[in-house]
Amino acid sequence: MLTLTCPCCGIRAEETELAPGGEAHLKRFGPGASDEDFESYLFARKNPKGVHFERWRHAYGCGKWFLAARCTATLEVFGTYKAQNPHPTPEIVAAIRAKRPDWTPDWTETSPAESLTE
């Protein structure tokens, strides 16, 4: 059973307090989107062996959704961050790179202003 620290209330929560929500940072496609984009949004998941970004809810705690960066192979947790970030924060990226030098982000970096770390 995993332990993850909720970035909203600061509690180091056990998995029994948490509800999983699948892959993080999905971009929603709504009406007007192509079949391909919508199918990818609804069904296609990366399911990597290694670094992964996931949605979790502190369901039996503060109730807030947050995101976690985790290795699916070793269960190492690189960090947790707020759900409103469009991409993993620079701090999370640095923490992953410190442990997994070969890993590179697969998103296009946005301006730091978009980052919502507090």
Partner: protein, 976 residues
């Protein structure tokens, strides 16, 4: 020899107390053991060597080991609800009055009919079931399987409820040390001195592991370490506690025996510890391996360490003439222990060419013969060892000598207990020098920080002697021996047991290899090697070594099977603990629960709620009660406790915009004071909830959800609010339990409520789909004029604390109107009479609103809502989708729920094609006929057509497709 049993030695026994004899029973015989005995030692002391029979051949079995790895001595313990099958005699502490029975034998342990399998062993090889019982196919179901099932299985499951109590506890520690032997205690002492919080778990009732038995001043070394530990307030010592599994992020499960088999102790029987460990020290020791020689399963052939334990710890003689057979120095300790106890050791048979270490020298100095480069060619004896045949280890088994003996102490070397290390990903390396798998500390199980979460020490790390702490002299290396003698014949291999419980022999594993089983995991399942209750503790290494030899590859290339928790079995009672009976799960009760109970309500579980299904009167069936309640509502007035209905407040400047995304319909345009029915879909387009929303004020809506959907819908809203539209200014609050709600329903509903007084409920003041706030009978209330029954209906919400008061006032004021409480079933039937859908009946996670004729509740104006894009996908717009219709039975029988309507032709599997199914079905008391709803291909375009519903064992049902609204089609009754 003594009155404590014919095989009890007159001296020694460090764990027993001769002052306290304990009577117990075995298969009806009255026997006596001593305090400190295990069941196995007490039985052996009484001369009861045979304790069970093997699984496949029903061969006689005595104990092989003295600890948790025991595969043979499994007994039924206790009686009635306290009966427990398959308990290991070697780890079960003897309790006065214990009642025990042997297993897997009929009619008795000594005379067993199933032992005929024993004579058929040539015809019952590896994979026997797979090969033999395939054809002819019908034989499997009717002949083979019933016979095998009757003879398979070890103990029998208890038939009564367990009367004992169990508990669970949580703990945290910087360091958990698993194993209270010398290595574990010293690791704990080091950590304790550094100021860490330390918990030490020891499986046995006593500390020290093998050290007190095996090393001259072992006990004093253990006592010294314990004294240091007991003086540290940051160290917790816990005996009788078995760590059974290590899971993610240092989560450790352990079972503490508090009052095992002692119901008079006044304690819970067992406690399950759920420990979050900062780090785990694996000090779980090592297990001795048997040697594979012909006849190694005859009762009286035991592990050398077990023989030593029975003698030294319990003062029990496993035999009077003990032959030791070994490939290492350690087994010589057994010879010395036997000699010290006054028992005979006719010879030590050592596979090595020149055993000359300190221990062999000590044995030789006692005048004992050491037969070097020798092996056992065979053991003769039925229910006990009689003769040991000796041969050269490098030969093919030519018998050079026979030795009379009644016990054989064997040692094939030791295997570190690497289970906890491996459970959560720790890797192993094969050591050729030590002939064992060792934890690879460069590839440990890792925690949430990516660092090692476990460290192996002592014998678990391959350091069998822990010489630095025990002062043990160095020993000569062992000689790996996987088959004895090296060139044993096929006939000998037929009698070399690897898995003693499941009867898997060297010949079986070699056969599997010959038949192409190269993977150790496949071989395990094909032969059942390691699938016995000991989970391969005794057999795995020997088995995979034999497999490797047969495949002509080194052992590490074969690898091990996966180590999975639990290390030893956990009772289901411990896993469930207090979560049984009334405490199985929390029950949610409405404020009127007690009233319903007093009126004899029949309860229906809805989520964690209990709702009245109906209120049967004396002598009334449930069906009759439901019919009476419906007639009372439609003819007068009834009350439904609707408090369980989900109630979520959605508030903020963007609340309207948000609800337009949540609902398929338009909620932002709803005027204050009005209600609107709405549908909630998921992003896949499927309908997941429905209900009525009311606009309370300019920026506030109250959303009603289904009873079971309240928490889910609240979570659904929060997900979208927090993760997608997090910049919208909206709050949600689940206020379900803050309000009691009563549906007052029927032609007399307004009359009844007006009698309570306080609010103008006239059609002008409170029209259909409106709501009003005020005081009713002096209770602050919101009244929603909405209807799920088709009748004139008011849903009255009052603060939860005043719900019962309102309910009682309604019943007092309406007595002359015949006001009738009604339950969920009457509600269901009335909604079906009106063709209203029910989430979970008409929907099943694959149904979209368009399937249910609910297009009127889907906004055409909105550019987006959750599920809108999905509902545009080709499969969702397919005209062949099944759609909602009513179904009218042709012969007056009620259609069974869930039955399918068949179509012409068959599908590629030869099954009838389908064109629809029944989703709801009832007898309508209002109409006096059965009614049903269903989903049918092109259904709404096929009014009047007749469908066929074949049902096994009954005449095919036929039903006509009709309008789903069966009652009051024009909807005038809701106007009162």
């Amino acid at each position: 020899m003594s009155d404590n049993g014919p095989f009890r030695l007159s001296r020694g026994g460090r764990l027993i107390d001769r002052a306290y004899p304990l009577p117990f029973r075995f298969d009806g015989r009255h026997l006596r053991g001593l305090r400190g005995d295990t069941l196995a030692s007490a039985l052996l002391a009484s001369g009861q060597l045979m304790m069970g029979r093997s699984f496949k051949y029903h061969r006689p079995r005595g104990p092989l080991a003295s600890g948790a790895e025991e595969p043979n001595a499994l007994l039924g313990l206790g009686q009635g609800g306290r009966f427990e099958p398959n308990q290991r005699a070697t780890t079960t502490a003897l309790v006065a009055g214990m009642v025990t029975t042997s297993q897997n034998c009929w009619p008795s342990l000594n005379v067993d009919v199933g032992a005929v399998n024993n004579w058929l062993y040539r015809f019952l090889p590896a994979g026997f079931y797979y090969k033999t019982f395939i054809h002819p196919r019908p034989f499997w179901k009717h002949v083979f399987e019933p016979v095998i099932r009757r003879s398979a299985g070890l103990g029998k499951a208890p038939t009564e409820a367990d009367p004992d109590s169990y508990e669970q506890a949580y703990a945290h520690a910087d360091l958990v040390v698993v194993g209270g032997g010398i290595a574990g205690l010293l690791a704990a002492r080091d950590a304790g001195r550094q100021g860490k919080t330390v918990t030490v778990l020891e499986q046995n009732p006593h500390w020290g592991g093998r050290t007190p038995t095996d090393h001259a001043d072992g006990q004093s070394r253990i006592d010294a370490a314990l004294a240091d530990l007991r003086a540290m307030p940051n160290v917790t010592l816990r005996r009788n506690t078995m760590a059974t599994g290590l899971y993610d992020h240092g989560y450790l499960i352990a079972r503490e025996a508090l009052a095992d088999h002692d119901p008079n102790a006044g304690l819970p029987r067992q406690r399950l510890w759920r420990i979050r460990a900062g780090h785990v020290v694996v000090a779980s020791g090592a297990l001795e391996r048997p040697l594979s020689f012909a006849g190694n399963d005859v009762p009286g052939v035991m592990l050398a360490s077990a023989v030593r334990d029975f003698i030294a710890d319990y003062a029990v003689a496993p035999g009077r003439r003990i032959v030791v057979v070994t490939n290492n120095d350690d087994a010589y300790r057994t010879a010395l222990a036997a000699l010290d106890a006054g028992l005979e050791v006719p010879a030590v048979i050592d596979a090595r060419a020149n055993p000359s270490g300190a221990l062999p020298q000590a044995v030789r100095a006692r005048g004992i013969r050491i037969l070097s480069a020798s092996a056992i060619a065979g053991v003769k004896g039925g229910q006990g060892v009689q003769v040991v045949q000796v041969c050269s280890h490098v030969g093919a088994g030519q018998v050079s000598e026979t030795i009379e003996a009644d016990c054989v102490a064997m040692s094939g070397g030791w295997s570190p207990v690497v289970h906890l290390w491996s459970h959560c990903g720790g890797k192993l390396n094969w050591s050729d020098a030590q002939a064992m798998f060792l934890p690879d500390t460069s590839r440990p199980p890792t925690g949430d920080d990516g660092a090692a979460m476990a460290t192996p020490v002592g014998a678990a790390a391959g350091d069998l002697l822990v010489a630095g702490a025990t002062g043990a002299e160095p020993e000569q290396p062992l000689l790996p021996v996987w088959v004895m003698p090296v060139n044993a014949t096929k006939a000998m291999k037929f009698k070399m047991w690897l898995d003693f419980q499941n009867d898997v022999k060297v010949s079986d594993v070699e056969l599997a290899a010959q038949e192409g089983y190269a993977s150790v995991e496949h071989t395990k399942r094909y032969t059942t090697l390691g699938m016995a209750t000991d989970q391969g503790k005794v057999s795995n290494i020997n088995g995979l070594a034999v497999l490797s030899a047969a495949l002509k590859q080194p052992i590490p290339q074969t690898g091990t099977t996966t180590f999975r928790p639990p290390y030893t079995p956990l009772t289901l009672g411990t896993i469930a603990a207090e979560a049984r009976g009334d405490l199985f799960q929390p029950l949610r009760k409405t404020p009127m629960h007690g009233w319903h109970q007093a009126k004899g309500a029949h309860w229906e579980p809805v989520g964690h709620w209990r709702r009245p299904y109906c209120y049967p009167q004396a002598g009334e069936t449930h069906a009759a009660a439901v019919a009476r309640e419906i007639r009372a509502v439609r003819g007068g007035v009834g009350t439904l406790d609707a408090s369980t209905l989900g109630k979520i407040v959605v508030k903020g400047p963007d609340a309207g915009r948000f609800l337009d995304m949540i609902y398929t319909g338009m909620m932002s345009t709803l005027p204050v004071g009005k209600c609107r029915y709405g549908l909630i879909c998921n992003e896949n387009g499927f309908l997941i909830d429905d209900g009525v929303a009311a606009r309370l004020s300019e920026d506030t809506w109250l959303v009603h959800t289904t009873t079971g959907g309240a928490d889910r819908m609240h979570a659904h809203m929060e997900d979208w609010l927090q993760c997608e539209w997090w910049d919208w200014k909206v709050y949600t609050a689940n206020v379900t339990e803050q309000w009691a709600q009563v549906a007052v329903v029927g032609p007399q509903a307004r009359n009844l409520l007006e009698r309570l007084g306080g609010m103008d409920l006239s059609p002008e003041a409170l029209p259909f789909m409106g709501w009003a706030e005020g005081q009713i009978a002096g209770i602050p209330a919101r009244i929603y004029r909405i209807s799920f029954s088709g009748e004139l209906s008011f849903e009255v919400a009052v603060p939860a604390g005043r719900g019962l008061e309102l309910w009682e006032k309604l019943h007092a004021a309406g007595a002359d109107l015949g006001v009738t409480p009604y339950g969920t079933e009457a509600m269901h039937v009335m909604r079906a009479e009106k063709g209203f859908i029910m989430i979970g009946d008409e929907t099943d996670g694959t149904v979209i609103p368009q399937d249910l004729g609910l297009n009127w509740a889907i906004s055409k104006k909105k550019s987006d809502y959750i599920g809108k894009r999905a509902q545009e996908r080709s499969h969702m717009t397919d005209p062949l989708r099944w759609k909602l219709v009513g179904l009218e039975s042709l012969d007056g029988r009620m259609l069974p729920d869930g039955v399918y309507a068949v179509d012409e032709g068959v599908n590629p599997n030869g099954q009838r094609n389908l064109q629809g199914r029944v989703t709801s079905t009832y007898i309508s008391p209002t109409l006096g006929t059965p009614i049903a709803m269903g989903l049918v291909r092109h259904g709404p375009d096929r009014m009047g057509e007749v469908l066929e519903f074949p049902v096994a064992g009954a005449e095919t049902y036929k039903a006509r497709i009709v309008d789903p609204v069966f009652y009051d089609k024009e909807g005038s009754r809701a106007n009162g």
